[in-house]
Symmetry: D2
Subunit: 380 residues, 4 copies
């Protein structure tokens, strides 16, 4: 089957997440990268394009011309990946969607709620598909957790404990010109959320993905431990879900020893589920009154929903890139169905959507609002 033609905005030399998107897109051979506007600086953009084997004529100086020109080519791109700082997601996506080019976009959706709401409208009314790379939802054992929860295996929801801790902002490295640190700690580019925007939004999304529980209220205490930092580098959030379920969310980028420690535990009346991103091939299942069970990716008692998105036998660990690639692969299948005027298979719709993106920005906004007001309770 011919590969989908992929373009990319952002992700030039020195950017971390662009490379991740490219590997993820290649993993299952659904995409070929053929065009890009890889950096705001044209020189960097073109040098990056060359390195990646993109034809010089398809390396663009600005995303508007890219959208314009690619949409007018016979062999123009089918889909564009947006991997820029947050404040640019919306205008870029808009320009491609308006040309009927599908969009796969990094999270969080936007750097403010207004943009997010407009973005949502644009996607809803466009004639192209949209996916958001909340990549952690692509892990097979996360999919299985979702299924088990929704099948009632642990009963009605009582408690969600979710956390996402890192340590890379322990010191004020943004002052030393570290590129990623610089924009991620700059409210004008990242939005008002610091740790809560960058990673807390993943934690919220993961809880939402697994349980589907409706968040009703929250109360947040946010801190900027590093002197001079404008956005939070640590957030503590109490969550109240529908039906009296409760939750707790911690995001931090100043917790030494935590590399990328996203962890979720969900408890219901009958049992609990636990999963950790750093050891993603395991799902721990505790049914009340039963011994602890560890279900392994593709292994015994693993279910079809996860096995569909795994490539290798149990015991051969898959990691972050494979989970990320699942988002790309499923979105490719959505696009092909769309191109063939077919309805995509149900399971492909697990790819995070514009709705997830909007909820995520609302979450970030609410946390910052609560935190900036002394930790008052906010309706969600």
């Amino acid at each position: 089957m011919a590969r989908l033609k992929l373009g990319m905005v952002g992700g030039g030399q020195g950017a971390f997440i662009g490379g991740v998107h490219r590997i993820a897109s290649r993993m299952d051979d659904h995409y070929e990268l053929v065009a890009g506007c890889l950096a705001s600086n044209p020189e960097t953009a073109h040098a990056s394009a060359k390195e990646l084997g993109i034809d010089a004529e398809r390396s663009y100086d600005d995303f508007l011309s890219m959208a314009e020109k690619e949409s007018s080519r016979d062999d123009g791109i089918d889909v564009v990946a947006i991997v820029t700082p947050n404040h640019l997601h919306y205008p870029i996506a808009e320009s491609f969607l308006s040309k009927g080019i599908h969009v796969i976009c990094d999270k969080p959706l936007t750097h403010n709620l207004e943009d997010a709401e407009n973005f949502h409208k644009v996607v809803s009314s466009s004639n192209a598909l949209f996916a958001l790379t909340h990549n952690y939802t692509g892990y097979p054992m996360v999919r299985q957790a979702r299924e088990m929860f929704r099948n009632g295996e642990i009963g009605e929801l009582r408690i969600i404990q979710v956390e996402y801790a890192q340590d890379w902002l322990t010191l004020p490295i943004e002052k030393d010109g570290q590129k990623q640190a610089s924009w991620r700690t700059d409210p004008s580019k990242a939005g008002m959320g610091g740790s809560i925007g960058d990673i807390g939004s993943h934690a919220y999304n993961l809880a939402d993905f697994i349980t589907g529980a409706k968040l009703e209220e929250l109360c947040a205490d946010i801190s900027s431990f590093v002197p001079g930092r404008k956005n939070d580098d640590n957030a503590h959030v109490l969550l109240r879900y529908a039906n009296n379920a409760k939750g707790m969310l911690w995001s931090s980028q100043v917790a030494p020893g935590n590399e990328n420690a996203l962890r979720i535990r969900v408890y219901g009346e009958k049992g609990g589920l636990s999963w950790e991103q750093e050891n993603p091939n395991y799902l721990t299942v505790d049914i009340f009154g039963k011994a602890k069970k560890i279900i392994r990716r593709a292994g015994n008692e693993s279910s079809d929903i996860g096995n569909r998105v795994t490539r290798i036998p149990p015991g051969h660990p898959e990691g972050y890139l494979e989970g990320f690639a699942n988002i790309y692969a499923d979105f490719a299948k959505q696009i092909r169905a769309f191109q063939n005027s077919q309805k995509p298979d149900e399971e492909l719709l697990l790819v995070p959507t514009i709705d997830d993106g909007l909820k995520g920005v609302k979450f970030i906004t609410s946390v910052v609002e609560s935190g900036s007001n002394g930790g008052k309770w906010i309706k969600f």
Copy 2:
């Protein structure tokens, strides 16, 4: 050296914690149990006493006569262990302290703040010693964590993540007459705190023991998930400490798969410390920029403060009873110093005190107050 003569109030047949206290008291051979008022029901009390080898004449029907008679015997008890439901701690302790008999008492101190404050006055003005069995402070690696923190090895405090989760109250077993569940879920005996009183207070105490950080404000969301239960069986608490440090505390007795999962993580500007009660022989140390280190009880890089309270070489695991016994052993040494009119060694003063008890009850009270008022912030 002659053993201290020990009496016990509570802890008769069917009680869990009484047996723990007895083993803990025997472990290092500092005590001999010679008297008791082991149950409110005299028949149970005497049967229990017989089983434990206590002379019939020193098995008492009520604690008042026990205090009276033991204090007038030449071979009367030196010290009494109080292991009753919470509401009885204060009156019992008072009657023994007033006779100059030392008291080692289960936690939480009392079932309400008024009693706790009076209790504090009684102890402060008495001529006898008092210890509270916040036993988790007895673990060697908790002692080492305290020392490392206070030596500044992880720098100034930023974040405390502490949690204590169990699952034994997942179902409404108090309705089936399970004895311990019955009193622990009964506000008139346990106090207003459910999980927060029984185990959340341990979590608070552990954070306090290690860091000494001054709690200034808290905000709590408490739940009674099991229908009909009066006290909380789950509590989520945000903590604000002095110097802008922040914390999060979770206590739950309805989290399936958690047996006795007390866990603390403390982060400072320079590093982090992590310890889990269920695998208490390990302390994880993360100095920012360095590889993760696991220090093992009595092993390499373990320090004197922990090694003093360990009995066996590394790799020979010690557990809950050994940690509990450390409280008993150090209290015995305090008592002997007192009996010899000596000042106890500094390190013996790590045994939890009446101050810890009062702080604990204030903590429980504050959490319940916050939680009962929609989760408002409370000054501590």
Copy 3:
């Protein structure tokens, strides 16, 4: 119930294992230490006795007088614990058994096979009971592993992987006069086995305890890595059991990072069991085709056989001393049954016996014989 009167030979100041035996004997209140011959040097012996609260007149200079005098006292000891270097176990045990005093003895039984065979005869023909402290058999989850294996839960035995690694002899500390290292590396006191005698024998015993498989042949490669050391400090052994089952045993005292790493894995046609001494509260169960299960001491799916020998609820970790104490407690119950001319309960007979001791010495002897002959196969 009155405590059994306990004497001890060996275990004076500076000895590690004597203190372990004393705590283990006290843990469940079945014994009271009243007499001893605690060191070969009388001064040390008496000083140790004083420290332990033993009456001066019952602190003996030599074990023969101790056996003589204690057996003639009305309040003489019921049982003696022998915790000396290996070459003394047999003569000491003989002198007490011949007086009708029960014996609980450290392992390995003797330092050579001849003594072991004679020892076996003496015990068999004596009118007193004998127990060997292969303490690891006292762990609840080891008991459960045995039961599960023998109930056929993992099917017919195929493979045993057992290992016991330490690192305390990595350097030639015996040359620095470290007391325990000195005798344990001295063939005249420890026997011909170095690591294989001290700890390999535990590993062999553990496999035997759980499976009861009949060892038929072995092939060993033994090393003394530390220059000048006479006995092995590392042994690699291939095992052939009846019915074509196979095994592998590794013992080492020069494996840095291993504190007391006894670990066993047993595989049958239908499943596998895995247990590690350093985290003894867990038993991992893998039934072929099923998810991995972790059964926790006293927890869900734990069985009566283990729960009988546990004192505290799940999640409150028990350790080495508690496992050791189970041997003491069950032996006390055997003695009481004997004193009452009753048959002991079946489950009490899990305490290791003189048969186990003899098998252990045969195992050590065979390993050394194989290893000293270039690694030839030896019939067992």
Copy 4:
């Protein structure tokens, strides 16, 4: 940079390892698959080729015509991946090498020693490059272990404990026509080695890669636990290395609960290193006298040698495919250097070679010889 043109022999529909090679080759964008002889059955071959987007004219019926035709095309393949059953590796490789086409070949090299020796000669005298996919050597933390060992960080080698356990052959699934099980248990296709050939050879290679220790003698006990199985499904091997170092190797495919449990521990005079394939992002380092250290991929104290072959930040787990891809990526760089008549960088030469392949077959042969002769010692 233009991608290398890749062909593949074997790896058609239903084969596991072919897909792995394809993903690995794509991961870092060094290769493009353009030709294949994907199955012995032409129909399957062509259907597979179509699925993979290979032009019909470059989907071959037999490998000889493929070598012939591809070598005569201007746009012919640069390199061929051989992923057939073991007995075909040699003839296929020979036909491509003789045409100057580079070869990357699955392991073990061949199904018998004679072929392996001839293979070695062919590669040595050919004018093309050869790589063997002992993929576990591609893991960053394995590379770091090698470097630390060779830098003397744990001192002179004493002990190697290596094991590779699986459970997928616990039942006689080869009788049910499971394709992979069928050829892997068939001596005419897999060679005489069963588990020792399939996975034991990886274990041997891993030890060799890390330590470079010279194996001098071995003694093996091999079993076929499943009735009717001709090759071993379990092997226990004692190893004697140069300078009196010792080792133990276990390979098994009938150990329930083990998915792909390759694990190595190496001990020297000064420390130990431990790594497990199922959690490959961690390397445990124990320096004698120091606390246990866990070095994480790309994290603190990780070294350049591993960091060069990692793609994403610490805490974002990499897995099996990424390790495999490192072999492909480094081989691509070797090929480019060769094409430019340059000497490859030193570090690229870590890719396993024909020497490793020959040593591996000698190892398998020796194990089977020892095992078939009652477990006698064999010079290596």
